[in-house]
């Protein structure tokens, strides 16, 4: 019986050989601008994490009292806006490609979960700002959370809890899900075009 380590390595190499994980060629059909939005989403995530790490290192009140801190807060904010913008375009692009075809449903689902988890991640960021926006969003958001029962364990009026979610728990979840999503993409490869044979039935027929 082989060791657990050897079995893990063999499973990994079978599913994700190096040429799949870091390919230097791709199918000829990958030549549309829509393919860039996945990489742009990753770029925005890097920017969010980098600016977020700087804000976390300095503490939650720094950006209110320092011009440099405020600039990094602005970088963080705009990176988040672009992250969602790129991610939504990427999502719509994959929808119109039916990118779940050929056993890729887990790729679609992991991407969707990333989008769904990104929403509370950003939400807790707005709640952690310690300004009027935080006060208003918290007092308005609590009713929705309470009505669904979420408020009993996720208190949007508790800055300490929201800050913990925002700087540790949810970013860790996002990075894990994005990592899984990328590994699934590399394992299955990008989805081939829908055969034109499928389209044949929908062509315009010339008038007699």
């Amino acid at each position: 019986m082989s060791s657990w380590t050897a079995r893990l390595r063999e499973t990994y190499l079978r599913n994700l050989p190096p040429e799949k994980l870091l390919p230097d060629s791709q199918p000829a059909y990958m030549e549309s601008a829509i393919y860039v939005f996945g990489a742009l989403t990753i770029g925005a995530l890097f920017t969010i994490i980098a600016s977020g790490v700087i804000l976390a290192l300095k503490g939650p009140t720094w950006w209110h009292t320092s011009d440099i801190g405020h600039f990094f807060n602005s970088v963080h904010l705009w990176a988040v806006e672009l992250f969602f913008f790129f991610m939504v375009i990427h999502l719509w692009g994959k929808f119109w490609m039916s990118a779940w075809r050929g056993g890729r449903s887990r790729v679609w689902m992991s991407g969707t979960i990333c989008f769904l988890v990104a929403i509370p991640t950003a939400f807790t960021g707005y709640l952690s700002q310690q300004n009027f926006d935080s006060q208003w969003i918290a007092t308005q958001g609590k009713d929705g959370m309470n009505a669904l029962g979420v408020g009993s364990f996720f208190n949007v009026l508790n800055f300490g809890q929201m800050y913990s979610y925002h700087v540790v728990l949810l970013p860790a979840a996002i990075m894990a899900i994005v990592g899984l999503h990328l590994l699934l993409v590399r394992r299955h490869g990008i989805v081939p075009p829908i055969p034109l044979a499928d389209l044949a039935a929908t062509v315009t027929e010339p008038k007699a």
Binding site: D24, S25, P27, A28, E31, S32, A39, G43, A44, F46, T47, W63, H70, F71, N73, V75, L77, W78, L82, F84, G93, F95, W96, M97, S98, R101, G102, G103, M109, L116, A122, Q130, N131, F132, D133, Q135, W136, Q140, G144, A147, L148, G151, S152, F153, N155, L157, N158, F159, G160, P192, I194, P195, L196, A197, D198, L199, A201, T202, T204, E205
Partner: protein
């Protein structure tokens, strides 16, 4: 033009997408991610430099009580006599509402959908007794003022009926009160010790003491703002600022932020349901909107398995545009 359903079965479509043995082209995945990241960083730096980000100072109870003393005292009185939103909220804060299941203005804070009363089932997890938290306990922190302690003692010793008569009389007098430069002059009336209690609470709040009192419990360090935020929300301080900034629920609410910034635009569909009747006007609006979004989120997740929805991209062939170059070079698809 005649539109027909796609020709291939789902099984055929899936089989065709499992393997690709066609032509390839050179591709540098690391280079693409690096260039994309650099482009995003430059774009973000430009946006941050040009547009900055909003940071309006938070409202404080001290500021509220100085600028709007009548509103502050009216709110404090509603906490004392159990008429405030917080006093009647129900779970997770307390066991309200007290008026036959509805708040005094008809709003039901214990929302439900069909037989599901999840808010009620999960119970009180962040207990707040409004009268104790916002009026009685803070007044006890002024031990050096015999008049306040005497008024407090008289109020607590009185039967509930008399307490109600005092708070009602004081509420009526408040309607004729005059506010000037942060001070409040309330006409005389039969409101017993309530006048002394309210004027002392106002003074405590204006000194900044109430901001600290509502945070402090057993620990030195505090990060939980549940009590002061609920108190501020019961008054008009937050709402007035939000109205001026067009942030109300009827104005697409919390997806916006102060100033001309995009805010949480990704919440547009959630906020949309609050603008739609009868959902937005329902006493169960929050649980209805949340449930709809839960179902839609689940549907988004499961699109690959939902017949009809998963075929939409085949019926509206936008993919022809996405792969137009490939189809041009490979007419057989």
């Amino acid at each position: 033009m005649r539109l027909r359903l796609p020709r291939l079965s789902n099984a055929e479509l899936n089989d065709a997408a499992r393997h690709y043995d066609g032509p390839t082209r050179p591709y540098d995945i690391v280079k693409e991610v690096c260039i994309a990241s650099a482009a995003v960083v430059l774009l973000v730096l430009a946006l941050a430099f040009v547009f900055s980000s909003p940071d309006e100072s938070p409202s404080t109870i001290a500021q509220w009580s100085r600028q709007m003393p009548a509103d502050f005292v009216t709110t404090a009185l509603s906490e004392l006599d159990g008429q405030s939103e917080t006093a009647n909220y129900g779970p997770p804060y307390n066991n309200g509402p007290t008026n036959n299941g509805t708040y005094y203005d008809g709003t039901n804070f214990q929302q439900h959908i069909w037989f599901i009363h999840i808010e009620k089932w999960l119970g009180v997890t962040h207990p707040i007794d409004a009268a104790q938290a916002y009026v009685l306990a803070p007044l006890r922190t002024i031990p050096d003022d015999p008049a306040v302690q005497s008024a407090l003692k008289a109020y607590l010793a009185a039967p509930a009926k008399e307490q109600n008569a005092w708070t009602t009389a004081y509420g009526n007098a408040l309607n004729k009160a005059a506010a000037a430069n942060g001070s409040l002059t309330v006409p005389a009336g039969a409101y017993g010790p309530v006048g002394t209690m309210m004027s002392s609470l106002l003074a405590l709040a204006q000194s900044g003491g109430l901001d600290g009192d509502l945070l402090a419990n057993k620990q030195f360090y505090q990060t939980d703002y549940t009590a002061p935020l609920l108190f501020l929300e019961d008054g008009s301080a937050l709402t007035d600022r939000a109205t001026a900034q067009h942030l109300l629920g009827t104005q697409w609410g919390m997806m916006n932020e102060t100033g001309s910034y995009p805010g949480q635009v990704w919440l547009w569909l959630y906020t949309f349901w609050y603008q739609v009747k009868p959902i937005g006007t329902s006493p169960n609006a929050d649980i209805l909107a949340g449930t709809i979004m839960g179902v839609l989120s689940l549907a988004l997740l499961l699109i690959p398995f939902i017949p009809g929805v998963r075929s939409i991209p085949r019926v509206i062939p936008i993919y022809k545009l996405i792969w137009r170059d490939y189809y041009r070079d490979h007419p057989a698809g």
